[in-house]
């Protein structure tokens, strides 16, 4: 948030504090400040903290303190209005700069001269103004391009687990993403919530090494920064991203990590406000709250720019039904899920394909975009892989000998599919290479099993292969 007008009214101080608990401060008079306003709390020793008014009644106002309430006392702390709402400075000068979780420069350079100051809450895109996202983004990752296509304006999260290489996958996408037949580069807006110093450095160094440093804007709230700031970080990042995309016409890719830390901060505020907790203590309005972040992706009719989101979250205990991944999945347009067993087998990226989905895939593929048969090709491999996984489970119970001949071929296909198609390593693979590998893998199955693909196409593409062909 940046400083704005310093009229007398803004400067006026009040000694209104009445009650302090956790991250919250209560003020005696609720009528002084509008809801959503940003306040300055000036302590005895001259230190200043910021707070935001959450709720107001005639008897009191509830203020959440961004930097924590440690050291604040009731007697000596003065409150004054800093800004009527939380805002962030927008300008094309932000590209290449680093900011704190609330939008203050942290790269030692001068503050941004704002073109425009925008409310970080933002407004909803009018649904009739939305343009259908349909530009295929080639990420160079087979499991995404071939099976869960990303398109401009989509929000496609990565569901990770502790210790799984979600950051590496996100970085790979950032480095390689490109719209086919279009050499326009993305501007990357990076919003980090509760990231460890190691992770933050990994991203920043990778952007630097990959030559993206000059087209990245980062908003960083580290693990040891105040938790409440995390509620502001994604909104600051998205406000700047919307400005770049819909006012300045850039293609913007927003990477938000780690949404789990964000949700935990939300829970912390909720419990301090003594709200009725929902599942696992998270507030009942978490769906609504998350949607005001994720829904800020999209394209707008008549506008050149686009805003694509890749939020990353950590599933606590790898549980996809945990409220954080669950609510996220209900809002986003699909999900990329990482799997621990693949990671143990040293397969990179360890994407567990079955629960993955891209809802907008159909808009980005097909004749004139990729291949007419892309959908069928993907469905065939998906269905075969799903069947192969069932066979593998069955084998664990009854032994390989008890399997039928066809089942054995499914088993071989599945092992090879994971090793080659999923486990591409960190090299970029073009869509054509992905397709060719897919056809080759289908050769491991009997021809008559390929019923999802058009018959003429099977005749054209099918060549029987065996496992030795894949070394």
């Amino acid at each position: 948030m940046t400083e704005t007008a310093d009229s007398d009214m803004l400067q006026k101080e009040y000694w209104d504090l009445s009650y302090i608990t956790g991250p919250l401060v209560f003020l005696k008079n609720g009528g002084r400040f509008p809801t959503g306003a940003i306040l300055d709390l000036t302590m005895d020793n001259g230190q200043i903290r910021q707070g935001q008014v959450l709720e107001a009644t005639t008897s009191h106002a509830v203020v959440q303190i961004l930097q924590g309430t440690q050291g604040i006392d009731i007697k000596g702390t003065a409150v004054s209005l800093r800004n009527e709402s939380a805002r962030v400075a927008c300008s094309t000068d932000v590209i290449g700069r680093s900011f704190s979780g609330t939008g203050e420069p942290i790269d030692g350079l001068a503050p941004i001269v704002a073109d425009e100051e925008r409310d970080i809450v933002g407004e909803a895109i009018n649904p009739v103004s939305r343009d259908k996202p349909n530009d295929f983004i080639e990420t160079g990752v087979s499991v995404i391009d071939g099976f869960n296509t990303l398109v401009r304006g989509q929000k496609l999260p990565v569901f990770s687990g502790s210790g799984l290489p979600a950051n590496e996958l996100a970085n790979m996408i950032v480095q390689q993403a490109q719209v086919r037949g279009d050499d326009e580069e993305f501007v990357v807006v990076f919003g980090a919530m509760g990231l460890t110093a190691r992770e933050a450095n990994y991203f920043l160094n990778s952007f630097e090494e990959g030559g993206q440093g000059s087209r990245v804007v980062s908003f960083i709230n580290k693990a040891d920064d105040p938790a409440i700031e995390r509620l502001f970080t994604p909104r600051c990042a998205l406000t700047v991203a919307e400005y770049l995309a819909f006012t300045k016409g850039y293609q913007v890719l927003v990477v938000l990590t780690d949404m789990t830390s964000y949700c935990e901060a939300l829970r912390q505020i909720s419990s301090a406000r003594e709200e009725i907790p929902g599942r696992r203590g998270y507030p009942g309005y978490m769906y609504t709250d998350l949607s005001t972040i994720y829904e800020r992706a999209g394209r707008i009719i008549g506008q050149k720019g686009s805003l694509t989101q890749i939020p990353i979250l950590t599933m606590p205990d790898d549980d996809i039904t945990h409220p954080i991944p669950d609510l996220t999945g209900y809002i986003t347009e699909g999900q990329i899920v990482l799997g621990r067993s693949l990671h143990r087998q040293n397969i990179f990226p360890p994407v567990d394909l079955l629960p993955c989905l891209s809802r907008l895939m159909n808009n980005g593929i097909g004749e004139g975009k990729t291949e007419e048969w892309h959908r069928d090709w993907s469905n065939q491999l998906y269905a075969s892989y799903a069947r192969g996984r069932d066979v593998r489970k069955l084998m664990a119970i009854v032994g390989e000998d008890a399997l039928t001949e066809v089942d054995k071929r499914y088993l071989a296909f599945t092992i090879q599919f994971e090793a080659d198609m999923v486990g591409q390593g960190d090299t970029r693979r073009t869509l054509e290479e992905t397709f060719a590998l897919g056809w080759k893998l289908m050769g491991l199955l009997p021809k008559s099993e390929l019923t999802r693909v058009d018959r003429e196409l099977v005749e054209e593409k099918y060549t029987e292969t065996n496992v030795e062909d894949f070394s």
């Binding site: 009528g31 895109i125 259908k132 800020r296 999900q335």
Partner: protein, 597 residues
């Protein structure tokens, strides 16, 4: 404050997210609409405590000060009904989104208002009553061609009756011009308002005898619901609820579609807006949009308006039902509405029920689902006049947290809806769409509809359906054995059942929503495919009984021919299928002869 001193005006004393409280509001009634603050945000009174009124606000409340004015509007939340509703895209409180775009740009601002109907457009009105005629609520005053293919019946509003004093001549009029006057001085126009939370009256509910045909094989065959019935579609994320809702609204046999996007994705609505105008209505041949009204309140739009959006939708549906049309309403997703109820309830500090939902959740759900039905419309009774009937069918998506159907919204909706189309994550993972789980789903309408199917559907419909269901049941039992001892332990006859069940799943139950030829399945194709697979099974079973090896049977290329029948368009399906069945019989005959030789 006395009435002649202007509207009741109080001042804000509390702001808490979407909930506000105002003092000096004595005289305001429950459910009344208020304008909140200097911006004039719209809200609805949900609790009254002495002079203090609590309201839920349909727009974001941040930036307001205590002490700002709150002005009562006198009426509960109402929708405006009349010609021009079709093809519109409204937000939850019936503001046309196109007009909001004109006034505030690509992002929706606050405190906006817009006329629900176009007041300047002239409609061609043809009167159907004469001076001196006694009329009452529901009687048709005249007709207006609302779209190329659909006549809008302008009705006397419910609860109004009298003798016609004047009626306007045929001609072009706007919706607000007087078209008729009653003896008692009541002026009638083409439009009237109706409060959304009050069900529109009807004469009586009729038995449901006709099916709601969706063009989706698994639903039409295994779990059909009736016109005027209701079904819920619960499923975890990614199981394809929205695609099911879209497919039904494209291909179902209702004459009017009300599509309510409640707390869901903006890009999905962009999809609908992009697709529907270019799709053809299978009934009339006109654009699909011409029979559709969209009510859109995406997840990032204000939470209180979600509740309004489902009620707005169902009231619009009832209005067309009252004109004698069959209406289908899609609500995606009702869980978001329940969550909005929970959020407001928690701000009111009400005692929570299960999982934090208010205890009145089940009552509200039941009231809502009971607004569906096939009805005899209200109208004055004349001898020789045929009773007008209409129907309102509801398909509500439910989004259970973690895909767990034991949660309150799924359970409450399940109790009051007649169809349960359970979507299954495991099927979706293997790209089996629509991922309707055949063991969990049910329909309570099957027996009511059976006579209709016997009369209108292809011969053998009911019998083949039952055989299909039985086959899948056997499959479930055999799969349990396979999981324990492996497929080798089964006899050939049993393995054939597994194979046939697999074909039912892959050929019949799966349907490709993105294929032009398979997205819609006519009753002939639906029945034909099931019949083909079952005939295949019977032929194989016969051959197996006559010493042909199972491997030889299953390895025969005819199996693929049967499987690929699915790819055929509904037109001309029957002829092609008959040809393949001939080939099948010949092929099995040959195998039997070879085995004997």
């Amino acid at each position: 404050m006395a009435e002649n001193e202007g509207p009741i005006t109080g001042k804000l004393v509390r702001i808490s997210g979407p909930m506000i409280a105002a003092d000096d509001m004595l005289g305001v009634s429950m459910g009344e609409i208020v304008r909140v603050g200097k911006m004039g945000l719209m809200g609805e009174v949900i609790r009254i405590d002495g002079e203090t009124a609590f309201a839920q606000v349909y727009e974001d409340t941040s930036g307001m000060y205590l002490g700002e004015p709150v002005v009562a509007q006198g009426d509960p939340l109402s929708v405006e009904l009349g010609p021009g509703l079709l093809t519109q895209t409204y937000d939850g409180i019936q503001r046309p989104l196109h007009l909001l775009k004109e006034s505030s740009g690509d992002f929706i601002g606050r405190g906006l208002s817009a006329d629900p109907l176009d007041y300047s457009k002239k409609w061609t009105f043809t009167p159907k009553v004469t001076v001196g005629q006694e009329v009452s609520g529901g009687d048709v005053l005249g007709t207006v061609p609302e779209t190329e293919h659909l006549d809008h019946f302008v009705m006397v509003p419910p609860l109004v009756s009298g003798k016609i004093k004047t009626i306007i001549a045929a001609g072009d009029y706007t919706v607000n011009e007087q078209i008729a006057e009653l003896e008692d001085g009541t002026v009638l126009t083409m439009t009237h308002k109706w409060p959304v939370k009050r069900a529109r009256p009807f004469k009586k509910k009729l038995a449901s005898t006709e099916p709601f045909i969706t063009g989706q094989r698994v639903l039409d065959s295994f779990f059909p619901i009736a016109l005027g019935g209701s079904a819920i579609v619960p499923g975890g994320f990614g199981t394809g609820k929205t695609v099911v809702e879209h497919q039904i609204s494209k291909y179902c046999n209702a004459e009017i579609i009300i599509y309510v996007g409640c707390g869901e994705r903006g890009n999905e609505m962009a999809d609908v807006l992009d697709e529907f105008p270019n799709l053809t209505d299978p009934k009339t041949g006109g654009p699909l949009m011409n029979r559709t009204v969209l009510v859109v309140n995406t997840s990032n739009m204000p939470v209180a308006a979600r509740e309004a959006s489902v009620y707005t939708g169902i009231t619009l549906g009832e209005y067309y039902r009252d004109q004698g049309y069959s209406v289908a309403m899609m609500a995606d997703s009702t869980s978001r509405w329940a969550e909005a109820l929970r959020e407001i309830s928690s701000r009111l500090e009400e005692m929570p029920g299960e999982e934090g939902y208010p205890t009145y959740l089940s009552a509200r759900t039941a009231e809502f689902y009971e607004r569906t039905g096939r009805i005899a419309c209200i109208e004055s009774e004349d001898e020789g006049k045929e009773q007008r009937t209409g129907s309102l069918t509801l398909v509500g998506a439910v989004s259970p947290p973690g895909g767990d159907f034991s949660e309150p919204v799924t359970q409450n909706s399940m109790r009051v809806s007649g169809g349960f189309w359970a979507l299954d994550a495991k099927l979706a993972y293997s790209r089996h769409y629509p991922s309707v789980n055949w063991n969990q789903s049910f329909s309570l309408y099957f027996h009511d509809l059976d006579p209709w199917f016997r009369e209108h559907a292809p011969a053998g419909w009911t019998e083949r359906r039952q055989q299909g269901v039985d086959m899948l049941q056997k499959d479930t039992e055999l799969q349990e054995i396979v999981q324990l001892v492996g497929p080798d332990a089964l006899q050939d006859a049993e393995r054939l059942i597994l194979e046939a069940a697999r074909m039912i799943k892959e050929v019949f139950l799966q349907q490709n929503a993105f294929s032009d030829d398979d997205a819609y399945s006519s009753l002939d194709k639906t029945h034909g495919l099931l019949d083909a697979v079952l005939t295949f099974y019977e032929e194989c079973q016969a051959a197996l009984g006559r010493d042909v090896q199972l491997e030889t049977i299953l390895g025969h290329p005819i199996r693929e021919e049967v499987a690929r029948l699915r790819e055929l368009n509904s037109d001309g399906f029957v002829a092609k299928k008959d040809a393949v069945m001939e080939q099948l019989k010949a092929a099995m005959q040959k195998l039997v002869e070879d085995a004997a030789a």
